[in-house]
């Protein structure tokens, strides 16, 4: 159906090729996943397939569609691609779904109809077709809604529906699942399955193997612009080579590798010989939950009488941290309501996750944020997580109750002043970057706090080094990958050394290297006696990397405490998880294997397994 046969692609003005030798193809009714970390070239490959880039650089290779071939030699007499005709057959959905909305429609129904309107389809047929597509893709109930008020998952589905309605036979998607919670991912995957059933060919670019890749017929892994691995999802997920790439792999396989002492990135040498390694070689690596259960059950030392160890009282890293006096931040009876949206011209747009008018976003929340610990704020969409975080640096000021941070009452101090004690990482890091080079970006906060030029430069360089960005200090922040842009924002906060780190969804769109860097930084900051607070949907990351959990439900504080305690109360054995939350993977495994790990980290899990 469609294929890209690339021998090299270099953007205009660049020296090094963005893509080397890469071959990607997709057949009608089947999906191909293109997987790679930040900077691997997967987006470039996806855009080449979508016909976006033939004018943006020098391509040597061929694009084939429906038996027709466009061959490029990188010379002046290369054909130029007719995008209007190409896009009739090949649809594309990019990384920022907001940017793909037409921007001229007030309802989802009109948004879907836009492609038909531009082709002059009569109104009666348009009504039928919009309804048909919406029902097919399961978004019929969204039709009367405004595209601006959809959740991330709904928006993604709307954008996909709007681009397939005119009947392309290929759809190229760039990280469609990034930033979505587990439920939204599942329902998006179902939608993509429907498209496959309709005979479309799908090409899905992703950062990891756990998005749509398990359902893809073919998985191609890119690294440094080259195709490094190719095969079925099972072959790729179980490949030894994958473990050494900056790709978010299969968590079960990674755990199994760790159990066998084979390690992943960085743990190359230490191969443990013994019964476990033998077990790994005998059985294939587990890739699903049921396989993992079988696999780890087989790893138990003996199937005889099990002695249940008494669970130690939440040790974790926090145990080694010296006690600090008093909490870093205190919330007392905090209640906050968003003002009703004013007129469209002057007023702000209602945030997507804001609760409907009437119910307060936060309702009488009392909370201490302890120093030296990492706290994760969790909850369903619209539970008030981000609103809570915004209270910590005065971006939101409580209408009732008080918030004290570092001895200052937020109500009486401007945000710029509170910034000295609170570093805030926004979910959209891009709005936080405004300098011409990465170095100046990080210096900005220091300079505005009165640091001398030399001192600011020195501290900025140190912070960049910690975030692994030393090599790009002279770049324009917007020339970096999204993952790196978030790390720049993080470095700019760390440089100032605030008492409290408030991180809003810091894991979204980070690749494997970025995630482990983030985890390490959080650990170091907490060990240095700072309070780290993060809002997240990623419960697996939260339970592994945080000490405490705070659960919000409908703006109220529903639960809090050490990670394991909260998880235990939240996901009791044999019951459905509460709405909007998915039990952490390690917890599910531990529960079904009847293990009681001391913490929800892979190390603790494996220790519990060994001693069971």
């Amino acid at each position: 159906m469609i294929s890209l046969d690339c021998a090299g692609f270099t953007y205009h003005g660049a020296v090094q090729p963005a893509l080397g030798r890469v071959r990607i193809q997709a057949a009608a009714g089947s999906a191909t996943a293109v997987v790679g970390g930040a900077g691997s070239g997967k987006t470039t490959a996806a855009r080449l397939l979508a016909g976006h880039l033939t004018g943006a650089g020098r391509l040597v290779g061929a694009l084939r569609l429906d038996g027709a071939e466009l061959r490029f030699d990188g010379g002046a007499d290369d054909p130029s691609l007719d995008f209007a005709r190409w896009s009739e057959v090949v649809g594309f959905v990019g990384q920022r779904p907001r940017a793909q909305l037409s921007g001229v429609k007030d309802t989802v129904a009109d948004e879907l109809a836009y492609a038909l309107e531009n082709r002059g389809v009569p109104r009666e047929r348009m009504v039928v077709q919009v309804r048909h597509t919406a029902e097919l893709l399961g978004i019929a109930e969204l039709l009367p809604k405004s595209p601006l008020q959809l959740s991330g998952g709904e928006l993604q589905k709307t954008v996909i529906a709007a681009s397939v309605i005119a009947g392309p036979r290929v759809l190229v998607l760039d990280e469609p699942m990034s930033g979505l919670d587990a439920e939204a991912r599942k329902s998006l995957a179902q939608l993509l399955d429907v498209l496959l059933g309709e005979g479309l060919a799908l090409v899905v670019a992703e950062q990891g193997l756990q998005g749509y890749a398990p359902r893809a017929a073919q998985v191609a892994v890119l690294d440094g612009g080259k195709l490094v691995l190719e095969g079925s999802w099972r072959e790729v997920a179980a490949s030894d080579r994958l473990a050494r790439l900056p790709v978010n792999g299969n968590p079960y396989a990674e755990l199994a590798r760790q159990a066998a002492g084979l390690g992943g990135v960085g743990a190359g040498g230490a191969r443990a010989a013994g019964p476990e390694a033998a077990a790994l070689e005998a059985a294939a690596l587990p890739l699903t939950e049921s396989e993992a259960l079988r696999f780890f059950a087989g790893l138990r030392p003996a199937a005889g009488v099990r002695v249940r160890p008494v669970r130690a009282a939440a040790p974790g890293l926090a145990g080694s941290v010296p006690a600090h006096d008093g909490p870093a931040a205190t919330l007392r009876g905090v209640t906050f309501r968003y003002p009703p949206p004013a007129s469209a011209w002057t007023g702000r747009v209602r945030r997507r996750s804001e609760p409907a008018a009437g119910r307060p976003a936060l309702d009488g929340v009392c909370l201490d944020i302890p120093r030296g610990r990492r706290t994760a704020v969790i909850g369903a969409n619209g539970a008030g997580k981000t609103t809570l975080l915004r209270h910590l640096n005065g971006l939101a000021v409580p209408q009732e109750g008080t918030v004290d941070v570092g001895g200052l009452r937020t109500a009486g101090h401007p945000v710029g002043e509170l910034a000295r004690c609170v570093g805030y990482l926004f979910q959209d890091a891009d709005s936080q970057l405004f300098q011409r080079t990465v170095q100046r970006e990080v210096e900005f906060g220091l300079r505005s706090q009165g640091a001398s030029k030399a001192e600011a430069a020195e501290r900025a360089a140190a912070a960049l080094e910690r975030c692994g960005l030393g090599a790009v200090a002279g770049e324009h922040p917007f020339e970096l990958s999204f993952s790196d842009r978030r790390l720049v924002a993080l470095a700019s906060i760390l440089a100032a050394g605030p008492d409290v780190l408030a991180l809003d969804e810091p894991t979204v769109a980070l690749d494997k290297a970025g995630l482990s860097l983030l985890a390490g930084l959080m650990r170091e900051e907490a060990a240095a006696g700072r309070a780290v607070v993060m809002v997240t949907h990623d419960l697996d990351f939260a339970v592994a990397q945080c000490d405490d959990l705070v659960l919000l439900r409908d703006g109220r504080l529903a639960d809090r405490g050490p990670v394991l305690d909260v998880v235990q109360r939240l996901f009791p054995a044999g019951e459905q998880p509460p709405e909007g939350l998915t039990a952490p993977l390690l917890w599910k495994l531990a529960e079904q294997l009847d293990l009681q790990p001391a913490a929800l980290t892979s190390e603790a899990f494996l220790a519990a397994l060994r001693s069971s």
Partner: protein, 256 residues
Amino acid sequence: MIAGGRADAGGLNPLTLLTGAVVVVALTLLVDAWQFSAAVLAAVLVPALVLSGRHRRILAAAAAILLPTLLSIALINVFFYPEGREVLLAAGPVRITAEGTWFAVAMAFRLCVFVLAFLIFSFTVRAEHLTAALVARRWNPKAVYVLSAALRLAPDIASRAGDISAAQQARGLVIRGGAVSRGRALLMLLVPLVVGLLSDVDERARALEARGLGLPGPRTSLTEAPDSPAQRRFRRSALLLLLLFAVLWIGWRWLR
């Protein structure tokens, strides 16, 4: 549309409303007499204001525009009107003349008609109906796109600007009172705002082209603007009558 699109113009086509506003404004400019402007204000615009059901918002918007402008008109023409012969009061450079005062009154009434007529139009019309009406009139699709997108983009940009400003303050930016500090803050707000907007542009251009914005040929519209044969007749005859009146009026003045 300004008020967020729940307005309902009672089954009126946006072009009917626009024709009404244009006729009213053109007539007042043509006749150019304060008595006529005042009569139009009282007999046409005040009833329309009440019928629109959103008189409070329209009046608030009108006041914000009109008050400074009316004050300024008075300042210029009442106190300084060198052509004036009939001096009512003179003190230093200030000469209050009858001619100047009447000129100011005429200008003030005319301006009120101008501002109110168009504000009533824009506060009662729904953006999607205006778009649909323009599509039905076979306007160039690109022009329709630019108009409709700009209308919906302004609140989006305002909220982005708010987010960026919040993020910068969270990074330690304290805006002080001075003009220099505020100017710097504005520049610092503009850079990420413009970069963010421009990086979306490429993505959006591709998405729109893929969905057929650049295709030739006529367009259709899923949403339809309300319309009726009577309204179509009204629009045509109102514009014809306006043209006729203008020719006669200018011709008569020419001859006189």
